[in-house]
Amino acid sequence: MNAKEIVVISGKGGSGKTSLSASFAYLEAKNAIIADCDVDAANMHILLGADFEKQEDFMSGEVAVISEDLCTNCGDCYNVCRFDAITKMDDFHKVDPIACEGCWYCSRVCGHGAIEMLTQKAGDVFVSNIKNNGKMVHAKLGFAAENSGKLVSQVKMKAKELAQNLQKEFIVVDGSPGIGCPVISSLSGAMVAVLVTEATVSGLHDLKRVQQLVKTFHIRSCCIINKADLNTERANEIEEFCKKENIEVIAKLPYDITFTKAMSEAKPIVEFDEKSEVSNLIKESWEKIKELARK
């Protein structure tokens, strides 16, 4: 049987997504593979004590390279490039690898065979052992590299493979922020989406946008309102929105310094202060999420 994928997402950054997903990961480590798909700002490994046991290169995207010897300075490549990636030098043309989109157009029109397309290393994928005898897949995107959506897919593929081999029931995914390609990759194939938001104007605004996206995937979703006591009015608006959208609000968490304190000690909240009220709320939420996934 395929493992059930549970993706924790939030439109807005800083709403507690990673703190919560790391807690879920810690609680379910034995029975799940953990995947950090927030590859732009991967942080979950810090809380889960990842050991970076295995590393693989993430190869993605191609970049044009012009041979100085073969280039006749004809300018054909310069004329077709839509990304301002080619500069004319005195004796030859040169490619700016950051601006290059990897479309191959220049290489196809070059009549002198002077342009080669080289695949780039765009990051690293890691498989780590984590606290509570679990395993996680995480990644590091290369500096100024592109294709984070593809890297997300690769992390998820690896997690699925591990879950299959090790017969795990769940894959817990820390999703990416926003509504663009990395999130779309995070959500595809998921069973349950956990929408984490906060009781602020931005929290509500971003939740609405991200829910629009989640809807198109036809997956079950539930919502956790973090920092719910920051502004009761906003929290109520979020609850109303969820009701209208038929999303169960499974927890309302207080604005709690424990989030930061636990983070500073590199621990998930449920490990840092196991008996606290927030920890209990998180544990209850996780049970509800599992129930939703097993339905």
Binding site: G11, K12, G13, G14, S15, T18, D40, A41, A42, N43, I46, E62, V80, R82, F83, I98, E101, G102, C103, W104, Y105, R108, V109, L141, F143, A144, A145, E146, N147, S148, G149, P177, G178, I179, G180, C181, I184, E198, A199, T200, V201, S202, G203, H205, D206, R209, Q212, L213, T216, K227, L230, N231, R234, Y255, I257, T260, M263, S264, A266
Partner: protein
């Protein structure tokens, strides 16, 4: 001059800082335009009282198949590096969301059967606030690529506000959207918080900015929580710390309501003064 406010980690206060800084500088008589380039989740507008001036549809160029002269040779499929074109039986299908607008298929087609046409990806809206201009890029739901919209939003700002001090509110992260948002900036303010996440993501953001050869400075938000890793790192790497904004639940509460902070919270105003002074000295 263009100053971009960016951060590796989301939720560190980019939007709070950029909207307050724009308003504060404008209140001192400076000519300011603020652009929200976090086109996936544009939030600056939630904190500003705005009057709309105009909305422009943002498009990207995508090939459209015209079957009359097409010989179904399949060259377009072969040249597309992004799998955005497929030949299925006797039809050519274009997947606009995968298209990077490189024009290769269109211009290399022997029968000119794939003319490029604009296709909507989002909107660019120009607003006025009491004392400064505000431009927002907002991508349509389901669109995967934000870079073209970020580029067009920047073009709009450059064309219309060449004399203003330009403040850009960047998207979070370190990948393509951030690079697009910062690549033409004269200075990048990285806002972070003094937690392990904040530190980890700051290091990534700094490395990215160095690849792009950008001048940078750091603002530490929620100062006083967490640890001092961020400060030590900045010291070691010789990165100026422009301001430290004290951790304060009042800030979170005022933010939650959607109000500007500097009018209500004196220590926040002091931090803005530090930033304004620093900006004044950027050459």
């Amino acid at each position: 001059m263009t100053i971009t406010i960016a951060s590796g980690k989301g939720g560190t206060g980019k939007t709070t800082l950029s909207s307050n800084l724009a308003s504060y500088l404008a209140s001192q008589g400076k000519n300011i335009v603020l652009a929200d380039l976090d086109v996936e989740e544009p939030n600056s507008s939630l904190f500003l009282k705005l009057d709309k001036v105009e909305t422009k549809i943002a498009n990207k160029m995508v090939p459209h198949w015209e079957k009359e002269n097409c010989t179904l040779c399949g060259k377009c499929v072969d040249v597309c590096a992004f799998n955005a074109i497929a030949k299925i039986f006797d039809e050519i299908l274009v997947y606009p969301q995968l298209c990077h607008s490189c024009y290769a298929c269109s211009e290399l087609c022997p029968t000119d059967s794939l003319p490029m046409r604009p296709e909507r990806i989002g909107e660019i809206t120009h607003y006025k606030t009491k004392n400064f201009d505000f431009v927002e890029g907002r991508i349509d739901l389901g669109q995967e690529m934000s870079v073209p919209l970020i580029a067009q939003t920047i073009d709009y700002v450059n064309e219309n506000f060449s004399d203003s001090l330009k403040l850009f509110d960047a998207p979070p992260g370190t990948s393509c959207p951030v690079i697009e948002a910062t690549k033409e900036s004269d200075f990048v303010i990285l806002i972070t918080e003094s937690t392990p996440f904040g530190y980890n993501d700051l290091v990534l953001a700094v490395e990215t900015m160095r690849v792009l050869n950008k001048k940078i400075g750091v603002v530490i938000n929620r100062y006083g929580i967490g640890d001092n890793q961020v400060e030590e790192y900045c010291k070691k790497e010789n990165i100026p710390i422009i301001a430290k904004i004290q951790n304060d639940k009042e800030i979170a509460k005022t933010y939650a309501k959607g109000e500007l902070l500097y009018e209500k919270i004196p220590h926040f105003k002091n931090s803005l003064d530090d930033i304004v002074k620093f900006i004044g000295e950027i050459k």
